[in-house]
Symmetry: C2
Subunit: 217 residues, 2 copies
């Protein structure tokens, strides 16, 4: 297959990145997305949401990787392989899935800030390499302080009623959009599910795979 000539990206070229810090495949995408988006001149819209309520709407009280033993056993192997393939640090955590409400609220505060990418990577590495309780305020404060940010101030903003409501609203929006897992990407209104589709989504953003529009994509 011949590689199409890269086209200059649209000024409006962007990818909405829906993620939950408790989601293992979101870990791989958080670690990869900035580099891949920068290569293609695509803007990332960081969109934290809670996967738990969405799983609950399917009648699942936890991750399907916990509910279905075979799928779970395979997933841990697949994670090790995929992380090795992409050069992403990885160690299977002792608690899965981890609650991530506080770090997700902080991600909402930081969504438009230059530190969002580094912050998200730090939280993911704390969960999926350092095996830490990422929902504890000490852990989140540590991540923020490492980035030279005013941790207490940001956490206070994150815990405001208004910001708590915003995370619930994001989760409701995810449900309304038909999101059923994480990571999920939206580009020009089209859904792409899973780290396995990150490259396709970014290529669609740069209009290198424009024909998908005509596929009812």
């Amino acid at each position: 297959m011949t590689e199409p000539t890269p086209q200059p990206a649209d000024a409006a070229s962007q990818i909405d990145f829906w993620f939950d810090f408790g989601s293992n495949y979101s870990h791989i995408s958080v670690m990869r997305i900035e580099q891949e988006a920068t290569k293609r001149n695509v803007k990332i819209v960081w969109t934290p949401f809670l996967l738990g309520p969405i799983f609950q709407s399917f009648g699942w009280n936890t991750s399907p990787f916990v509910l279905y033993k075979q799928q779970g056993a395979y997933m841990w192997k697949d994670m090790a392989r995929q992380c090795a393939k992409y050069g992403v640090p990885w160690k299977q955590p002792t608690v899965f899935p981890r609650r991530a409400v506080l770090p997700l609220r902080v991600a909402l505060i930081g969504a438009d800030q230059p530190w969002i990418g580094e912050y998200c990577k730090k939280i993911m590495l704390l969960n999926f390499v350092a095996d830490r309780d990422i929902n504890a305020s000490e852990t989140v404060a540590e991540a923020l302080a490492d980035l030279g940010l005013p941790a207490d101030e940001i956490i206070e903003l994150a815990q405001s009623e208004q910001n708590k409501l915003r995370l619930r609203e994001n989760t409701e929006s995810a449900q309304a959009l038909g999101i059923f897992g994480a990571p999920t990407f939206f580009v020009r209104g089209e859904m792409f599910w899973g780290n396995d589709r990150l490259d396709d989504a970014l290529d669609f953003a740069t209009r290198r795979i424009n024909q998908w529009r005509d596929l009812g994509a």
Copy 2:
């Protein structure tokens, strides 16, 4: 990333290909696997099985793409995109998932025959392009006759008690191996799930991705 130099494949280099003709992502792998395996000098072990009893063991009375509406809606978009990406013919069938007991029994008869690959492609194209009832004996007979094969004789063999038992045994083996979906590939005892992992599985077969063994893969 630099591409590793292709190594001459092991004489024993093989991939066990577990598939069900009713499975949509198996369609893409059936259409691709011979070309990809030939490129890498990997032998394909065609291993038909019934996905239905495995889904039943999870409490599902049909495909999860039917049970979970959002996942199903996304899957049809993803299928159109993936087939376009790989150049695989595709039309969404009006019946899904289709029962495929008879064509799978015939695949068992043909598993070691030179016609197995062409036969499997024909059945998949009948299901996922021509929108035909692939479980009807006329349809299977037509596929076999198109390949210049004695259809009646093969179907009679396929419907023997001994062969029916073999398909049940394959399905039990799939369950014992922890298979939870299709397509699934086994290479040197390691499981790879889904068309998205076909290339990884084949690369593992040629020992280009040997380090996965050390990852607890």
